[in-house]
């Protein structure tokens, strides 16, 4: 038995003529922190979307804890349009909806924050607990589940506490400053009790100082919740410091992978993504 928690096998995602993800294979191991980087439009977010079931891939398969959770091959009009590889390799079709995948233990945050804007921070997190609640709708309506309800609320408070949001728990999500909204998104994702957490640009819009704090924080939650973290990020400080391994995408294709030092010095990565670092900045 391998210790991989997530494995993408030859994933291709094509929108009409645009091949956003091209024959991508990668693996994330239990308890690792892995980063996915690459130029804008390289297909990183799309890869996350495929993993979380927002899109069904055009071709390829995904394994979560060695179970096949997604598998697809070109169909309909895509048969003609398909420009990727490994055509014919896959012949089963498994499409799970995002909620089913979350239930399996994969949670995510969004590149463009998507909180429940009009609800309080507390409600935002509490809602994410709904999935694991056992009460059916009648017993919940008739308040026969107060024990469960009570634990849900307790756990929510605890999560808010961990993320430093206790003070603002009764404020509307939309009125929180950006940084706290990002934290709230993570809290909400954690409330679904995931084993694998996908973070899409968690440090976007934060200053270097705040980004630095995020490093420690991600380490913390990994150990506290026994998580695996798979992250997209453009802040190289954060990525290089925190990642156990890094994958680099360009035009949907994997162009490099390995430990931070290897990637950092890979010429293709420098040309396509990192650029020449100006002095003083790293």
């Amino acid at each position: 038995m391998s210790n991989s928690i997530l494995r993408l096998e030859d994933i291709t995602m094509q929108f009409g003529g645009v091949v956003a993800v091209d024959n991508l294979s990668l693996e994330v191991n239990q308890n690792e922190i892995v980063s996915l980087i690459g130029p804008n439009g390289a297909g990183k977010t799309t890869a996350f979307n495929v993993v979380t079931g927002v899109y069904a891939p055009t071709n390829g398969a995904i394994y979560f804890k060695d179970n096949l959770i997604t598998s697809n091959y070109p169909k309909g009009s895509m048969k003609k349009l398909y420009a990727g590889q490994n055509n014919g390799k896959f012949n089963t079709r498994i499409e799970k909806t995002p909620d089913q995948i979350t239930k399996l233990g994969v949670a995510r945050t969004f590149q463009n924050i998507r909180l429940f804007k009009d609800l309080t921070a507390f409600e935002n997190v509490l809602i994410a607990k709904h999935m694991r609640a056992k009460a059916n709708f009648l017993s919940a309506t008739l308040c026969l589940n107060h024990k469960e309800e009570h634990t849900m609320r307790e756990e929510t408070l605890e999560l808010l506490n961990i993320l430093g949001l206790t003070d603002v728990k009764d404020e509307k999500a939309s009125s929180l400053p950006y940084g706290q909204q990002r934290h709230l998104e993570i809290a909400r994702a954690l409330a679904t009790k995931p084993e694998l957490l996908l973070l899409d640009e968690p440090a976007a819009g934060m200053n270097p100082q705040e980004t630095g704090e995020l490093t420690a924080f991600i380490h913390d939650i990994r150990s506290k919740f026994n998580l695996t973290v798979f992250m997209i990020e453009h802040h190289m400080d954060l990525v290089m410091e925190i990642s156990d391994r890094i994958y680099v995408l360009d035009f949907g294709k994997l162009i490099a992978s390995g430990i931070p030092e290897e990637v950092q010095n890979n010429q293709r990565v420098i040309d396509a993504y990192l650029g020449v670092q100006e002095d003083g900045e790293e």
Partner: protein
């Protein structure tokens, strides 16, 4: 405020309302207008809250209420038309043997069952509406916002066309409608049923399922990513909402005592939507208050606009028939423009708020009187 205190207040309020209703019931003859209008308001409150559940809390813009109400109303009506007059009701095409058999079967049930017959009728009406909702929900709930609205509106119109079609004359009495429907025994009964329905929906909204509904309303993609099965929850909200629309349709039939397909046209849905929005989308208390207010003002308080008004011997211009509805439309417009988020917004009634405003008022009065006092000294 302490919980126990809140409960005490609530009980006191409930007792006051009950006493008031009891008073109305015993003095029905003198307060007929209040009696009728409040009864209708209570019925509309049920359907308004049910629409709010679906549209306001789950974000599913549904305009099918009239259709679901029609289902509930017709089923309730068939239950509640006395068997001896049923032939008179279906005076054109006669009554279908199936209904006749069913009525005879009902009449042969034990007495206690017949006593709760109206409740069974309403339940059945609600369940039938819910069943229809479940069926059409499967294809239709995939649609987004206005497309969903128009599809449900379409369903409601289809329902109406089916009900009024000559082919169903022996069941729905087609164009002629159903009459002689057994009504409510008292206004207390109406209010009790309404209260039970609304309480159930409030509890649902407050439960973990209700929170999931709100999540879907706020952002369905995020909700799905949080493990909420969109279809299951949308369907649940839609079915429960339709159940209560059906029940309120049945109640409306009991209130009107005679119904026909025209009653359940699109404009009924618009009227309900109006109540919901005026009250505040996402506020149950808002819907209830607005249902009572809108009904009472439209059908009672504003009526004087329809009659010529004299001040001395001077006849005030504009006051004649039809003016009431003009005024009503203008008031409506003004309310929407003034209260953009409805009377209650998204907030609910709470004793805290009452407490706050009471103490605010007290402070205000105290200030006034103290000012007045100083004036006095001068």
């Amino acid at each position: 405020m302490k919980n126990s205190k809140k409960i005490t207040y609530s009980i006191i309020l409930a007792v006051i309302i009950l006493a008031f209703l009891f008073f109305l019931e015993t003095n029905k003859a003198n307060y007929g207008m209040a009696y009728t209008v409040l009864m209708k308001g209570a019925i509309l409150a049920v359907v308004a809250v049910s629409m709010n559940l679906v549209t306001g809390f789950t974000g599913l813009f549904s305009l099918g209420q009239a259709g679901f109400m029609a289902i509930g109303a017709y089923i309730t009506a068939i239950f509640l038309i006395p068997t001896d007059t049923i032939q008179d009701v279906y005076y054109i095409s006669g009554v279908s043997p199936a209904i006749m058999n069913f009525k005879n079967l009902l009449d042969s049930t034990p007495g206690w069952l017949q006593v709760i017959n109206p409740y069974i009728a309403l339940m059945t009406g609600g369940l039938a509406a819910a069943l229809f909702a479940a069926l059409i929900g499967i294809p239709v709930l995939r649609l987004k916002s206005d497309y969903l609205a128009i599809a449900t509106l379409g369903f409601s119109e289809i329902m109406r066309a089916i009900i009024s079609s000559p082919q169903l004359d022996t069941i729905t009495n087609g164009s002629y409608g159903l009459k002689k429907i057994h009504g409510f025994s008292s206004i207390i009964q109406t209010f009790t049923i309404a209260a039970v329905c609304i309480t159930f929906m409030v509890l649902l909204i407050r439960s973990t399922y209700g929170r999931a509904f709100k999540a879907i309303r706020e952002d369905d993609t995020a909700a799905e990513a949080m493990g909420i099965n969109l279809f299951k929850h949308k369907q649940l909200s839609f079915v429960v909402g339709s159940f209560f629309s059906g029940v309120s349709g049945g109640m409306l039939a009991m209130f009107m005592r005679s119904i026909d397909s025209k009653t359940f046209s699109v404009s009924l849905t618009y009227d309900i939507l109006l109540i919901v929005v005026i009250g505040g989308i996402g506020s149950v208390t808002g819907s209830v208050i607005s249902a009572l207010l809108v009904t009472v003002s439209k059908e009672w308080w504003l009526r004087f606009f329809d009659n010529p008004l004299y001040i001395g011997s001077f006849q005030v211009p504009f006051f004649r028939t039809g003016f009431r509805m003009v005024v009503f439309s203008i008031i409506l417009l003004a309310v929407v423009l003034f209260y953009q988020r409805g009377l209650m917004g998204k907030s609910e009634f709470s004793w805290e708020k009452i407490g706050k405003s009471v103490s605010g008022l007290k402070g205000f009065i105290l200030k006034k009187t103290s000012k007045g006092g100083s004036n006095h000294v001068k």
